[in-house]
């Protein structure tokens, strides 16, 4: 079950989104959206990609 080690990657979204001082500013804006907003929306996408990656790395042959 060494492959479960990949699960630790999933801590990243928690660290990135649960510490507001990290992203609570307006600049740099993207298409007029303050950083606060597009940064958190970006993490929605990154988390999805991260989950796909972990799924690929931990997938069992028998999974359907």
């Amino acid at each position: 079950m060494k492959r479960r080690a990949w699960y630790w990657l999933l801590i990243a979204p928690f660290v990135a989104t649960l510490w507001p001082p990290f992203y609570n500013h307006a600049d740099p804006a993207l298409y007029g959206l303050p950083f606060f907003y597009w940064y958190q929306l970006l993490w929605v996408v990154l988390t999805s990609l991260l989950l796909w990656f972990v799924l690929l790395m931990t997938r069992e042959r028998t999974d359907v």
Partner: protein, 510 residues
Amino acid sequence: MSSGTIIFLILVVGVTVMGFLASGWGKANLQQFDEWALGGRRFGTLVSWFLLGGDLYTAYTFIAVPALIYGAGALGFFAVPYATIAYPVVFIVLARFWTVAKKRGYITSADFVRDRYGDRALEVAIAVTGVIAALPYIALQLIGMKTVFSQIGGAFGAGGGFVALGVAFVVLAAYTYTSGLRAPAMIAFVKDALIYITVIAAIAVIPAALGGWGHVFASVQAALAARPAVAGAAPAGILLSPGMYFAYATMAFGSCLSLFIYPHSITSLLAAKSRFVIQRNAALLPSYSLLLGFLALLGFCAIAAGIATKDPNAIVPLLFAKYFPDWFAGVANAAIVIGALVPAAIMAIGAANLLASNVFKEFSAQRPPGETRIAKMLTLVVCACALVFVVELPVQYAITLQLLGGAWMLQIFPAFALGLYTRWFHPTALLLGWCAGMLTGSGMAYATFLASGKFAPVFPMQLGSLKLVGFIALYALIANLAVAALATFAFNAANASKGIDGTTAQDYAV
């Protein structure tokens, strides 16, 4: 009747018919509990994606979050990190639960707790928590529907929307009774298609009509700065004030931990045909969270568009009425109402499952037809109870209903979620911890009511000179865990029996 109202009626009546027809889907015997309650555990990735999307993204997404942004500014955006970090939890914890539930034939979270701890009192506590926490969440759906009905006006607006709400409610109960989980699963296809169409249209049209996002945020900043200050409340802005950091993070984290222990989430997850389907959906479902994020931003668009209303819940329907032709506003209104009906049906089924399997009846491996009948009747009772919450509960924002329901829901986390990993806690200690958590959560919520005349989701905790305004659910969970741990040490010291664990390590293995 306007074209918008006609389109609205066609769509809503159409999905109702689908709801009844769903009973014929897959030629199942709906007298069997598994078939009625979990769609026979046969849903693949696609059906599960629609069902879970239809289940988790509700009037909370379309009505309550935009309303909070409109009223409280950046603070309302906590729903986005919440809807992000919830998925790693599903991926790891709920996939594990699916595995053991499949092997041991569980229908509910309380089934697992009974099997794991061999403790009937704990099982009932877990089940009751799920039911009472589902009520304010269903109430939130009813508020969403009521808002749209009074917005459409005419016959729909009669009695402040309550008459139409009564009709919707009877219809919902009727097809849920007939078709079980298949009804919301089938309707979810239509619902999600409508939601994607309306949200994409809104994002393409509304910010552009307001001169682009840069302009929207500039005018929001000016408008929020001009609002009269409310005593005791942090001023709303397009960024958080440092005093809000803790509330923001704890609301996101607490909501994330509670989301997937709600009975409706469990019901939809257990309907998946494999563990892999759940993990794949954990990676695919964040696409809905993007929708949630953009819908949240519509709260700012409403401010920039100069929409002034006493009922912040109405801003999304008002925006559609202002920027779209009448027929399309009808589509959007139908999307919101159907988007509330689907989860309300699943929540009612989930709560009824808990009552039927874990409160009113001792476990039986056979699950005779009588149990299905009881569960069916109970969905009606659950829906009726939720109406009580709508009629008069003093909250400033509808989202508070969900957040305070979450404060109750989270109290099963130690027994259920931690129980999936460890049997270290003593069952009676878990029950004591649960009591401590429920009392702390309810007490803090009541204290906010005494202080301001309205229930609030956050409580100002004074730690020496440090004042931490945080989500009540997490404070209550800390009390819960502390009591459960201390009591476990005490029981261990007294050499008390830990009860029988019906599961083996093999049951959790992939």
